[in-house]
């Protein structure tokens, strides 16, 4: 990761920024808006390996912090946003995750909880929320 950032710095016009977007180490939340508020029904289950999303994202944070500490880059600005994936049903979300992720998934318990909440609220809206960090980086030296 550090090497990738250093290479990126050499491909830029002088003073040009690198923009890094990656989810924070916070787990991905399964939430439902019921009309009376947002209900947190669970988080994605992770396999605990080094490729687990929360571990990869923590590693990205550490790599960036190391470059800042070394005086290689400066963080000129940072934002955090909520990135939501909306699904029409818990089954659709579970299927989507099965097709797109290998180290995290929607557990059957969380799916049942989501089905229960959605069944009780006809206008409920289901989403998966990840917090995403965006940083504007400036190279001080390569």
């Amino acid at each position: 990761m550090v090497d990738a950032l250093r290479l990126a710095g050499r491909l830029l016009v002088p003073g040009g920024p690198v923009i890094d977007l990656h989810p924070t180490a916070e787990p991905a939340h399964v939430e439902i808006e019921t009309g009376a508020g947002t209900v947190h029904v669970g988080d994605l289950t992770e396999d605990g390996t080094e490729r687990t999303p929360s571990r990869r994202h923590a590693d990205a944070d550490a790599a960036l912090a190391a470059l800042v500490q070394a005086g290689t880059v400066a963080v000129d600005a940072r934002r955090e946003i909520a990135f939501r994936r909306y699904a029409d049903s818990p089954a659709e979300l579970q299927q989507y995750l099965a097709e797109t992720r290998t180290h995290s998934w929607l557990s059957d318990d969380t799916r049942r909880q989501a089905e229960s909440v959605m069944g009780a609220h006809r206008t409920a809206v289901l989403w998966l929320r990840e917090q995403v960090s965006l940083s504007r980086l400036r190279f001080i030296r390569s």
């Binding site: 990738a4 923009i19 990656h22 990205a60 790599a63 990135f83 979300l93």
Partner: protein, 97 residues
């Protein structure tokens, strides 16, 4: 599935990198172009890279016609990145660090 229909990600990106407008952009980890499509119409040129050839093929198939002359796809791992015609105004790591 509907991904970030609020545009939170592209809005924050535009605010952090006004140079995207009219700039020459390298995006590392473009995947199927989900993010690229949201800013490329403002850029002068975009080189979108990803080692996942299947994702790039999906990107190619779904690319809007008006972006085809502006976006170039390259199936390269990060360590084989080059300027490809000149330095970039902005480099984006799209969920790829």
């Amino acid at each position: 599935m509907r991904l970030d229909p609020e545009g939170n990600e592209s809005g924050a990106l535009a605010a952090l990198a006004p140079e995207l407008a009219g700039g020459r952009v390298l995006e590392i980890g473009s995947g199927d172009g989900r993010l690229t499509r949201r800013y490329a119409d403002r850029a002068r040129a975009v080189i979108a890279t990803d080692p996942d050839q299947a994702a790039l093929a999906k990107f190619e198939r779904s690319m809007p016609a008006h972006l085809r002359e502006r976006i170039e796809l390259r199936a390269e791992p990060w360590h084989r990145l080059e300027p490809w015609g000149g330095p970039f105004t902005v480099v984006i790591f799209a969920w790829s660090l």
